[in-house]
Symmetry: C2
Subunit: 694 residues, 2 copies
């Protein structure tokens, strides 16, 4: 890492703290101040490309005492407000990262990074690259050879270049071309992924010009063909205007006549504290991670210090150039915050909805208001618990209510719906729904390949993996926690176990930072424990257990760039000793990364993780063997990861949820004719609730 | 199998067909007729105990042509209506099963079963056994030694005896004793599982008397103590009256102003056809399985011939007598139909609900009406699919609606909530929610054991498994189907795969009936295919794939009775060649069974299952390491098994679902003060739906 011009702005008199809490996301004013302070380091006419301007979170050593003081009502210590800025000098490869101290009004550090450290894409750049690729004379010439019908619109999806170690020191984009339905040129929402082309221009990001035009293989091997006119496949549209819509779906409304059960407290311009059913936490939002939850507590007891999706990789299975470079890190390469949808009422959630806004920065360093990037709402999650006393016929039943903190991102063709879900039993679920349009490429008629499925005539959807890493910074009754795992072992047949039915639970404590795997055959279950806090009923250490669905790890070769770069994708769980700034499992800069800067490297420090300040990196994912049913847009594939209390409470924490009855729920009896009698008429009966058959 | 008196009632003139469809569950009249015909075989005063009187489903060779004729509007062939009856001659071990032909008004067969074949429990018997155990002088004497406070109620939970091969040819119950809160004797719903006693009477089921009183070990080994007065633990109640209920949960109502989207067609007295969002199927209900789905089709295309939960086993991990015999087969030993809750409006489901009733038979052979044993309703399942065109900002989003067919059973201390859930993407989910009260036993103060968790002072909840078997009789575009599995294999690094990122899918066809396991490391995925029906887009065989969460198989020793009896619990999937009457994975009679009569035995016929009429037995389950949070009643543990189309449709079948917008969904904006502006005022904005950040 070479450094130039560690510079300082002229020391200004300290100004009053800008934000009202150290964890509030940065404000528009703070973005402007940060940019001004960076600009002041350079000659007046210097042109910048800002890749990210976000909150530089306080060091934990500072923030923990602050939070403790806050929760115990003591005087709050002062913490300097800081921002993190990374930027290029425009039309150069000079990539910098800086820490700006807004309280002291100075640039604390400004470091030029590299070589082979590249910043993420940004909207301005992506649109520029599209334009450059499509206006390039060489690309135009190739497109002309296709002899497309008059007025056919050709589109360009710029892809992060990926890495293969071959002439890829330059920061570049690999562009994939498609066209809209040639027979419906006016349809701007035509699904161009049904018309992939075999032309793939490469654009460099210093001079911003096409430096190479790759032709894509469309057969069973690496061979490529000259661009040429060919048979046009039919369209395959997903927009409602092009469907013969079902007419027999009746509305289903979620009505909360007394409003929602959660409370939102605004903190300054950008901060939000959410309280619901004994849970409390702060919500942050940034360019890279999108939603971040801080200081998660239940009935005042500390459980998590920080929660956020840390990274994801989507490697594809086609071995052939240029497709072998398709391995997207959507958070590090693009940003879950930068790609967040503007959620609209009645479209993305049902019920009584609260939206959170955010402010990010444009490439020009201007504040970019992001409206409705997070929605907060409750949902019914079915029966929470039930028991019927068969002797008296008395049933006790409660429903499970969930609080959902949801954000949706669009990364070119694909969508992810991400949500934190809290329930009344002290459980936290992180859910990802994968949807959107599978990435497509052209394939010759009559050809089939074992690394993908033909989802439309002439269109191949290559199999791929989605591997996610959720970063969990626990603080279970405090910051000194440990990771253990339980395993079930059959007892040997013996005089003590004469019938061979006995089995026991064995607990193993993880000693050093490392990567670990699940084992279904022993029901291996990972738990985060606080040895110093004991359950009053049975004296066991209080904790939370991790329920994550097992998944196929990174399939790519251990020597491949995919494996080296996705440092989290080879184990179900990584545990590391906490260090400030270690937030992203794949490393801070994933664009054309080389590996060695992420969680695998940190775990290799082999630090003690027993009753220390530890961090868990929880991986989950899916192997997406594509189906025709996944096109032209795929039904959501849902993955849930759960964190559940284990001997943390002294009984079922949902025991005090009010019973589920008709006065409260006001359901309706459907006659076969779908007539609806007045709800009122049935309250008495409903209130009786279930009785057993006796 | 010894047989006596294969008898026939005097041949009566054929009477008119009673039910209007061969798959309609039997009526009260058919129960009466069946009983009369059985009685006519015996002397007038003979006393019977009827264990089950249910529909004897037509042989498939008869029913398939009937269904084909039905769907093609051709004349329906005649099928004799038959019932299955199993019964004891009261106060004997003479257990019989009979087939009664109601159309011909004769008993077709009547066979005495045994030895070591025992019928299930029934309500009358369970209550009788409770009474006998508690009124036994020896048991009373043991209870007296406890010196319980005046008025303390002692309760008896009879458990199916299980099998261990030691003096267990007799049909018996192992009873476990508890008491209600001694300090609140008037509370009939006191949670007696918080007060387990160490006295365990054994009742025989011929003479119905206590034949042995076992004392339960309460320490770390097999040693038992004399009954004696001891310290009384505090109560731990679950009923709402005993809770300090939360007061900040606001109502959440599901309102369907136009009614539900499903159509129910009554067929005769007991049949129901349900149609919803292109799905159609018949619902049956019987003593053993509870809900059964027949002839499941989507847009008229056949997918499944029959679906039902086939069996479950709950083996416990305590090696010590009498606890080692705790291994419940709740379907075969008790009956998911017989134990079904009477569901009440507003308690167990939200929205517009339709209930199904059933008629079962009492031990006396009387019809037992079962009201509201199944509820049918729709629920919102979040976003179904979404894509935003970042170039135009246009978002297309639909919600996923599910149709839920739900039944809830109470088996003494425990509850299971079972549901079939259909969605608009052609997917079928089977969900089980495990709740209720964990089985408890006494443990001495200061003692800890590795096979259970102390959940309350003096109360141990032993670790246990729940292993379920869902029987899937597929008919995917016809009855000749095959089972295959896909696996993902990395390509070797080579000139063809120079970067080591390539991987391929390999499909293996299962040749012979057998048990098979999942493999997460290769993403092994089982698929049911019809080789003779090809996808129009890619020519692949149409099919459905199986997504079932992996689970720890039966932990008990392969030589143990638990392993021998639970013939399904050792593999994720069993595939067998169809044979009439093979419906229950653990065998027809699980009570004190010895094994050898279930799916493992059938699979061992090693019949060809390639493009044949096959049956899938899909296992799933959970290893329940108990937590304090699971007491006094446990939060639902949810398990889902999914069946998803794979190249069955020519595109995403949910593409034609109407878009999700505010006119339809009528959500509400929550202000921080929870005021609710009129929905109308926001329709215009909502209708715009999401736009991207561009």
């Amino acid at each position: 890492m070479s450094t130039d011009q560690i510079s300082y702005a002229p020391m200004a008199a300290p100004v009053k703290q800008i934000a009202t809490h150290p964890l509030c996301p940065i404000t528009a004013a703070e973005i402007k101040q940060s940019v001004d302070l960076i600009r002041s380091l350079y000659p007046a006419k210097t042109d910048f490309v800002f890749k990210a301007i976000t909150l530089e979170e306080p060091q934990k050593a500072q923030l923990v005492p602050y939070l403790d003081a806050e929760h115990s009502g003591r005087k709050l210590p002062h913490i300097d407000r800081k921002t993190f800025v990374c930027y290029y000098l425009r039309n150069t490869d000079k990539f910098h990262e800086a820490i700006v101290n807004l309280f002291q009004q100075r640039v604390e550090s400004n470091v030029r990074l590299g070589p082979n450290i590249h910043g993420p894409g940004d909207w301005e750049e992506i649109l520029l690259v599209e334009k450059i690729a499509l206006e390039d004379e060489g690309v135009k010439a190739e497109i002309a050879k296709l002899d497309l019908p008059q007025g056919t619109a050709v589109l360009c999806d710029p892809w992060i270049y990926g890495s293969d170690g071959i002439n890829d020191d330059l920061r570049m984009y690999q562009c994939f071309l498609y066209m809209r339905d040639p027979n419906d040129p006016s349809n701007l929402d035509s699904n161009h992924y049904a018309f992939p082309l075999a032309i793939s221009p490469v654009v460099d990001c210093v001079d911003f010009k096409v430096i190479r035009i790759d032709m894509c293989p469309t057969g069973t091997d690496h061979a490529t063909k000259e661009a040429q006119a060919s048979w046009l496949p039919p369209p395959n549209e997903y927009t409602p205007e092009h469907q013969n819509l079902r007419t027999d779906l009746k509305p289903l409304n979620v009505v909360q006549p007394e409003g929602a059960s959660f409370k939102v407290t605004k903190v300054g311009e950008t901060g939000e504290i959410i309280e619901w059913q004994k849970w409390s936490f702060r919500v942050g939002f940034n360019q890279r991670e999108g939603m971040v939850l801080y200081d998660v507590r239940y009935a005042g007891r500390s459980i998590f210090y920080r929660l956020a999706l840390s990274d994801m990789i989507i490697p594809y299975g086609d071995p052939r150039a240029p497709f072998h470079k398709k391995a997207a890190f959507d958070l590090g390469d693009a940003g879950a915050g930068a790609m967040a949808n503007n959620l609209k009422l009645g479209c993305d959630c049902l019920g009584s909805i609260h939206y959170l806004d955010a402010v990010l920065a444009t490439a020009r360093g201007e504040p970019m208001p992001m409206e409705n990037v997070v929605c907060v709402h409750e949902q019914d999650a079915g029966i929470g618990w039930k028991h019927t006393n068969y002797r008296t016929g008395k049933a006790a039943v409660v429903r499970s209510r969930e609080l959902v903190i949801q954000s949706i991102i669009t990364v070119a063709n694909y969508e992810y719906i991400m949500a934190f879900m809290f329930n009344q039993a002290g459980e936290l679920t992180y859910e990802v729904r994968a949807t959107g349009i599978v990435s497509t490429q052209p394939i010759d008629e009559g050809v089939d390949v074992p690394w993908g499925t033909i989802v439309h005539p002439g269109v191949l959807a290559v199999h791929h993996q989605h591997i996610f890493s959720l970063r969990v910074d626990p603080a279970i009754d405090g910051h000194a926690n440990r990771l253990v795992y339980d395993e079930i072992h059959p007892m040997p047949v013996s005089d003590f176990n004469p019938h061979g039915v006995g089995y026991t639970v064995a607990e193993t404590t993880v000693q050093k930072s490392t990567g670990l795997d699940t084992n279904t055959d022993t029901a291996r279950t990972f738990k985060i424990l606080n040895e110093s806090s004991r359950n009053p009923v049975n004296g066991k250490a209080v904790g939370y257990k991790i329920h994550a669905p097992p998944f196929q790890k990174m399939v790519a070769d251990p020597e491949s760039f995919n494996h080296k770069r996705a440092e989290f994708a080879d184990h179900n769980v990584y545990v590391t000793r906490y260090r400030d700034g270690e937030l992203y499992a794949g490393g801070k800069y994933t664009n054309q990364s080389r590996g060695g800067a992420g969680v695998r490297a940190w775990a290799n420090r082999k630090e003690s993780v027993v009753d220390e300040d530890i961090v868990l990196w929880l991986q989950f994912g899916l192997q997406h063997v594509t189906r025709v049913e996944d096109f032209p847009v795929m039904p959501c594939e849902v993955i849930k990861l759960q964190l559940k209390p284990v001997n943390f409470f002294d009984k079922n924490p949902a025991l005090d949820v009010p019973p589920s009855n008709q006065e409260f729920n006001r359901s309706t009896l459907v006659t076969e004719q779908h007539k609806q009698p007045a709800v009122e008429g049935r309250v008495g009966e409903g209130a009786a609730c279930c009785s057993s058959k006796l």
